[in-house]
Symmetry: C2
Subunit: 246 residues, 2 copies
Amino acid sequence: MPLQPVVRRSVPDEVFDQVLGEVVDGGIEPGETLPSERRLAEVLGVSRPAVREALQRMAQTRLLEVRHGGSTTVRDFKRFAGLDLLPQLLVRRGNLDAAVARSVLEARLAIGPSVAALAADRGGPALAAALEGTVDALAATDDDVERQRHALTYWDQVVDAADSVVFRLMFNSLRAAYEPALEALAPAMAEEVGQAGAYRVLTAAIAAGDPDTARAAADRVLRPATDSLIAALSALDLQNDEEKHS
Amino acid sequence: MPLQPVVRRSVPDEVFDQVLGEVVDGGIEPGETLPSERRLAEVLGVSRPAVREALQRMAQTRLLEVRHGGSTTVRDFKRFAGLDLLPQLLVRRGNLDAAVARSVLEARLAIGPSVAALAADRGGPALAAALEGTVDALAATDDDVERQRHALTYWDQVVDAADSVVFRLMFNSLRAAYEPALEALAPAMAEEVGQAGAYRVLTAAIAAGDPDTARAAADRVLRPATDSLIAALSALDLQNDEEKHS
DNA sequence: AACGCCAACTGGTCATACCACTTGACCTGC
DNA sequence: GCAGGTCAAGTGGTATGACCAGTTGGCGTT
């Protein structure tokens, strides 16, 4: 087995994860109050600053409402959590959540073509050369993990060219959720990143400054793997349901 | 003037904002190291735990890289920041950033129709009734602020029906950026939220379970205000440029 | 019964001490 | 001279205890 970097989990990290689990898995309903910081510190066997740091981080993502002098209440994460929570929802307790994964694929398919269209509209000649270089690199390797990285680089360049802060931030959030599982997903994504030709067509459309063609080409890059993965996820889901009922 | 709730800014909040400003405005380049926690505490005249809390919160949003024993370095927020940073980018130092606002409008126009299509595909009969009720409420008031709130509720219901975690989280993030400025934006959005008819067409398409029609109808709801606002922002931008050069 | 005060509890902040880790200079042995 | 190990200094990580500041609810007064 290949050597892995040791994971060093700090105390606040641990507390954060535990409280997050309670909130996300419904152990504490929205509107309920959390135990006081002192009490939590006592129960968890850690110092109050450690608890405090975890709760403040959670408050920053709008999952808690902390009131000076009053109690700390849990908010409805489905209504208030931002996209930065995606990594924690995508893989919970070490398992991939099929419904979340499906929605990631759907979002990718919905947004990618729009970004490509914007890039076609705004990208200059330098962009085309850069994209071609990335596709060349993608085509030059046989390793699926490497190919995925090149594909990520490719989309990174497209997003840059789209010159949209919002899409850039969305891309960053999605990448943060995706990258940790990149190696595990290599077989599943092999179909997509193996199609260098589709990327070349997209590159040509972007280089030509043709938004509509670029949109369609991006769809052709993303759709096949999206469809087959969603089908696979559905099958997995049915299977899990059967196991539960047996 | 109407009484306003007092804003209570905690010490870590203040530190967070200051450091964030340095990072976002380029006062500290990516890769550079931050002063040590003790040093920062001394310079800012606050305690180390306060500094620590601010830095940890910043690290959670991937804007800093904190290494135990080593130094804390600044990361490139353009590459790593998630969508949750949007509120702070949209309005910086009290001013609306035109480029960011434009990208919000673009993203809204690109994503809204896709979400509507998903909702049409997945929504049941209960959804149609709920949406109609919201449009009725929207049509029943003359106050632009109230109308905006109803429009938000409308989209909230659509996003719910789309049954997609990712789009839900994106919507939450966008709303978090949008709501604080809701009152200021009332005149700008009046054009859109005044068109109850367009919402009714969209509602009918969703109720009919027709994704393609819903997509087109959503586009018609969002596009007019999007186009005119982007035009207004461009004019504003040119004007600012002229002021700079004069 | 209504009001106002106050004690108890909550989060907010600070100072300080010590632990754990990284770094780089220095020193050793070859 | 240089590869190796050693160690001190500096960094972030954690804990403790104290006190400030705001909220809440009960209890007494009116």
